[in-house]
Amino acid sequence: MSDLSDLYQDVILDHSRRPRNFGALPTANHAAEGDNPLCGDRLTLGVEVRDGEIAGIAFEGSGCAISMASASLMTEAVRGRPVGEAGELSERFRRLLKGEGAGAEEGSAGAVAELEALGKLAALEGVKRYPMRVKCATLAWHTLDAALAAPATDPELVTTEWEGTTE
């Protein structure tokens, strides 16, 4: 049985209790909704893109500690970044949770580099040992990808419930 503190690290518990950038974003020009109805995780994400950069981002919603902390950490990680970089971070994060790519072999130089590139998001690494919970951690990122592709006037609805753990 995996150690719980590996999953529920302090930074995760902190972000789930006091999510950052939580609320509506009136200036949003991109938006999407993430909904995992089987879990009851749902979030509405608003993004303000200016000159190719994520100038503002905020979310509202409710769900498990993993889904809320992941959304909160995500908003901190991508704010101020160019849209392209946010997309790369999204891919990197999902690779981590699926145990794919250069970081797949734990402890390898590639894995260390991947975790470094993820910064604070690396706190969610423990989720990969709980296959049923991976979809909770990736919901915010799928929602971000959808938001960046959709105008705020026509938010897309996404879910990570049907992708399983392998996608």
Partner: protein, 441 residues
Amino acid sequence: MAVGTGIEDDLRAARARPPRARPPAAEAPAPFDVERVRGELPVFAPGGPGGPDAAAPPLVYLDSAASAQKPRAVIDAVARFYATGYSNVHRGLHPIAAAADAAYEGAREAVRRYLNAPQAGEVVFVRGATEAINLVAWSYLAPRLEPGDEVLVTELEHHANIVPWQLVCHAAGARLVAAPIDAAGDLDLAAFAERLGPRTRMVAVTQVSNALGTAVPVAEVVRLAHERGVPVLVDGAQAVPHGPVDVQALGCDFYALSGHKMYGPTGIGALWARGELLAAMPPYQGGGGMIRSVALAGTRFAPPPERFEAGTPHIVGAVGLAAAIEWLEALDWAAVAAHEERLVTSAVAALEAVPGVTVLGRPRRRVGVVSFVVDGVHPHDVGTVLAAEGVAVRAGHHCAQPLMERLGVPATTRASFALYNRQADVEALARGVARVRELFA
């Protein structure tokens, strides 16, 4: 008589019924020897589910409402049948085919006994309660349903007792109506009676709620429905693990059960239906085994129950189910019922003693299930922490989303009890939930 719970009626009838393997219970039932019973389930042996690690803590399995663990008697019956008696059923000319026929029909008789049904020929083998309900929805109800007709269920139902009715209602332009529960989580019988209208063509009700543990007063529901000439299907999936049932005492018209929840194999279940209703129903599926004769110009169907068992049935599943029933029949049910009730009552008390924990529902009689929520902690986090502490529970909507909606929660954490659980399991649950509080405080 006070409003019966159905279960009580069943237990009373079961106790009154001759001959059980054990002598009838004395006034104070003999204590139930749970350790002896646990010894009959390999999964609880030292190192059971975790392999040969004898030092691993014993499995605390509080997820029996999802599926029950299997006694050695069932596992062995399945293996023995495959090894020594296996053949297809239906009119084989060689000796092991005859033995397979006898085993399969013997299993039908075992189900009849367990339900105290009048005739074994009224028992149809299906994959589980879900298929039993679908069979009734399409074979019995669909041909009778007119636009504007109604099917009456309750807010307690599992999706298996909602969606099949929605499908036939949609096809016919009919309407699904749900009778509400009260604040305690009991079916509101007065409201149920009000919703039984001139257009109600079918009542479908669970005997025990899989999400709250509420025992529904099925005999009373049947009485109300029959006063208006409406047939009743009882979803017994959560009731049969907790003791023999008496469909004649309940008075219902259809009874659905799943084998895997009553210590038998997955993929096998049964529908009991009144003989005269079954005889008038068209086939559910077509194929081999369900015909009298086939010509390209048309087919004559076999009588029930074969009419509803197209294709090679789950013969081994039926054999395993019969073994489970025989295992259950050898138990002293008064003692088992007292044991399970003690566990459930003590689980409710132990959970409520943890600050911030709310047990959902306070039904007049609770059978096997305790659903709860922890303030500020999502049920999936509760379930994950409990799993890490070695306690297997279920978190989610328990295939009862309309009930979750009614309770105003997205999901719950559910601890469910079977006869092999013991007080130590309740204590492990309480310790785990206290750990949840600690972690998320």
